[in-house]
Symmetry: D2
Subunit: 349 residues, 4 copies
């Protein structure tokens, strides 16, 4: 942190301040004094607190405030292995399934279909965060049981959203814990999933910046769990034609900022089935590690979010195209460029 | 809900659809058919699901989707009584105290000072939701104990933020449970505080609309707890000069939409002590029921948010001015106008 | 500007860079080198250009980029005199009138009514910026003639929106040129009104920051016209209940940043007549120099924006209340506080 | 438009209202009366004006408010021909060149390089809309002359930004008039370019919705000029890591809403050269008609926006990759899907 000091500050005040900082173990570089102090290490005081000091003109942060998530400090890509999927190793992982688990029959049918179509993981919501207390809230524990059965019958690991730390015991048989956009800053939940070993799929908050998102990932990493997967799912903007606005730049930017895998959810981002194909293609072209796509056997009857779900058939056709596009990008024309940016931090590739 | 039907829809499709709706107990008014259907009552299907139907052109909501929080259905103002404070009865309630509880001594000192200055409740954070896992997270249970002591010594009920349903037992001696902006859509927490009896001070989410906010209040009300207090604390905009942007219109608009009391937090909204006075005055002029203001005995040393805290002296002067302003607005010039809007739904006043 | 330099930068590169800066007349303070350079004066290069240099880690701005509009450099309040109104001298100036001039009869009637109610200027649109080319675009030159007549008959100076530099000759008899939100960054227009002498009422752009707004004011001031009045009219947010979101903090913040007068337009900010009274009261309490309020003799028949217009009667009652509130704030309880902030830069008061 | 009528409205009021509408030539469908009226054709009154009527509960728009730009009414893709480029015919058009024209030498060099690299048009700014009046404002008329020479020497049509209707005569030799984001709602300028014949490249406003953008296109089309090209250049969001946020969904959504060609500008959207390649690839994958990319021979020395410019070499490599990607998408894997969406409205393909 750089502290810019106001002109005409009394030297005595400054000396006392520097001395108090050093008592806290902070290294104070005075090369730019009395105009500025450069602080590193130790227990840095709060910027808000400092800026209230009379002689402080401005506080300037020097570096990203996250360290465990930082690409700068950890150049190698993190690869999260789940079943046969290796998320983040340069391949394209598809996670597919219904928004909500509605019945065992439906979930098993969708699971088998998406497995055949190329999905590596099965998603399904049992606990649903809904804006209204009057809309369908998910089947809860029963839904998790259906999802487990479906995963077993199809031979797919399962992903489901957890909404509260107290639900952890219920998620015993879930392979990947998803944290939704509304809970991205539910810190007690982040701490709880950081204390256990399952991979965590962390969605971006509706109005969160990259830095806030990475800080939430840092909560999980700091707890001891290195298996964090980021998922861009669209942000809130003034455009109401789409449910959210897919921030496609998140893919290449996060590639620079962090070593964690980056997925894209085109279904929630757009809220409309007809946009899932072009947005998925765009995400693959931008270099994402995978996609989370909603698939429902009867979209028009889905208990939630039917308008954005693909049928299993459409999903299979799309998956085939996306794998072809991914292969093309890896091997052919874009090799010099996109691929390089993808792997620039990974000397092994 | 009004469903607009596409032109050239086959009558058979429409008949079958209407019949399926009626089987769900929905009342279908066909006066505008085949252009539109008007649906009321029963178990309305999801708008998303409906809009996926081939012949549906558009779905139009007819009414606010919340009912327990609705002014329309509950014209009388809700008054939440805490200690001697009657929040929502037309008076001006001041809640004051430090952002974070830091020590017993500090908290007791601030408590006595704000009580003398005119505050009716003492606020203080023991569990702090911080963007970074590396910044001060609050004193936790020990902080709640200090706050309790301070409240008792000053004779003030206490308000503190709860971050997780599992923390409820620790809040035994807290008089008002605060839910912060980041947890406005933590539905498990909302359900938990809805199942108990303490008043809940629900802050607006950083990018939440009025409707989303009222839907979160509805979660609490639906659980059986009618004692909900809303608190506008600023929303995220492109302006970075202030920490957030105080949405002053929230006060008169919520007055129309809901019977719940509406507070304003000028400290978090602005993030700067120098703005607390003008924003507080504006909030009182707009007709709020009270203010939540940060006060710290040594703002420059506060462990968080020092830049926005007032000293006890400044708070006392401001409180005096705000009560005078409130009195003026109630009795004098603005009587015909602002006051009337304040009380239009309350025939007793 | 502070330029933070990357570690391990070759000294030769840095020396060459410093030398090239000095050739441009820039003063380079190397007290913090090689970690940072502090640049002042001279013809500073573009931050974007600098940040592309290989050894530049970050560019940090040191000061507001506007100088003519800056309070820091011009502590005295600017007072813009129009007719008998002295906008910015601590009084409360009301500008009122119809959104659009529709007929001579209507405009004269409204002009007389708002004059009687306490308005000091008459507003009326002749050229209307409308999102759709199919909606009413204003009466144009004929509308300006009606407005002129109305102003003369009522004895009020007139304010009207100009949309293009080429329209300037048509505005010969208009006393104050208004620049609307959509044209806040129409730089050719800003330059044109900066080259003439009439006062300019500059509205804030729908998503503009304070700094961008002040930079637009700077365009006018730089042209030689010191008579600029700022007007906050709400910004675009995710809340759709109100047309825009009134950013009430703009009033006290601009007070600190600039010496120019600051008005508030509660009519466009809210888009609803029922919100004009509470928002006006809030704006006065926050310390604004005046208000621009839409008044129409038959709001339900207004050719545009009828929903937000007050009747002349309601305007008169509201004006009376606002003057009373302003008087109270000046003389009574808030004297120590709000008033002081209002006048802190004006030693004469 | 559907007008929802409040319950208990007197029949006489409603009858009188319907009669007044019919006098204006409006067709009033009363099938849903007294709950709702459906209005079509004629001179529809302003929604704002109607919503002020006492018995009106809500106004519901029925259709997109633009007609000339509407895909619904004009299913065939518009193809804008400039030189050898046919923008909108399914091919990929690259527009490249410097942000600002700085010298004849530079512009000629860049022009030849981008022509060799595959660009079909040369871009270059002579009039620059800059937030600050103190930064480089472009070479003006002299810049246009350099651009013309460069275009002639390289054999490329030229594109340049026009900022005011009065500048039209200066743009005599410019092939495509660009309207920048800040002028998207400068209606006098839109009307002026609508009255002439050159193609117009209309950039999206920084916070504009698709509908507002298409309404601005409608202004040009209504003037008689059918040659409008839309260009997504990123919108303002809370993310500050990128200059703007590229709204990639604009490509497939506009494909549905309008028949006009859609370009993407990854340089301004991201503000960083390292993001241009992945965002360009994403835009091609999403189905855009072309890209506008900044190229500068010495990015670090560019007088504006150097940080986002590519070198001619990088541009050439990227262009090759993008054409390969576009070819792949057209012919191979994505044929069924993305391609179909691209061409669904064009029966000839």
């Amino acid at each position: 942190m750089i502290i810019l000091i106001k002109e005409n500050t009394a030297s005595a005040d400054l000396r006392e301040f520097i001395s108090s900082l050093r008592k806290r173990g902070v290294t104070v570089d005075t090369a730019a004094a009395p105009a500025a102090l450069i602080l590193t290490g130790g227990s840095l005081p709060d910027a808000d607190r400092l800026s209230a000091l009379e002689f402080v003109r401005e506080i300037l942060p020097l570096r990203e405030p996250y360290s465990l998530a930082s690409r700068h400090l950890h150049p190698q890509n993190t690869v999260v292995t789940v079943g046969s999927a290796r998320i983040g190793d340069g391949g394209l992982t598809l996670i597919a399934g219904p928004c909500s688990v509605e019945s065992e029959e439906q979930t098993v049918a969708v699971a088998k279909a998406v497995k055949a179509g190329g999905a590596a993981l099965l998603r399904g919501g049992a606990f649903k965060p809904r804006t209204s207390p009057y809309t369908f809230q998910g089947l809860g524990e029963r839904g998790l049981a259906f999802l487990k059965t479906a995963g077993e019958e199809a031979g797919l690991p399962i992903v489901s959203e957890i909404m509260d730390a107290a639900q952890l015991p219920l998620f015993r048989d879930v392979d990947v814990l998803q944290i939704g956009a509304r809970n991205m800053q539910n810190y007690e939940l982040l701490k709880a999933v950081g204390r256990q070993e399952k991979p965590v799929l962390l969605k971006r908050g509706l109005s969160a910046t990259y830095e806030e998102w990475l800080m939430s990932a840092e909560y999980i990493l700091k707890g001891g769990n290195p298996r964090v997967i980021l998922c861009e799912r669209g942000i809130r903007t003034f455009e109401s034609h789409t449910r959210s606005t897919l921030d496609i730049s998140a893919v290449p930017v996060l590639r620079e900022l962090t070593h964690l895998p980056v997925l894209v959810d085109p279904s929630h981002a757009s809220g409309r089935a007809s946009l899932v194909a072009p947005l998925s293609a765009a995400a693959v072209a931008a270099g994402c590690d995978g996609l989370e796509i909603e698939v429902h056997d009867h979209p028009a009857c889905a208990l939630c979010d039917g308008a954005q779900a693909l049928t299993p058939d459409t999903f299979s056709r799309l998956a085939k195209e996306l794998f072809a596009l991914h292969g093309f990008l890896q091997k052919e024309a874009c090799a010099q460029n996109v691929e390089r940016s993808r792997c620039r931090w990974n000397p092994e590739k």
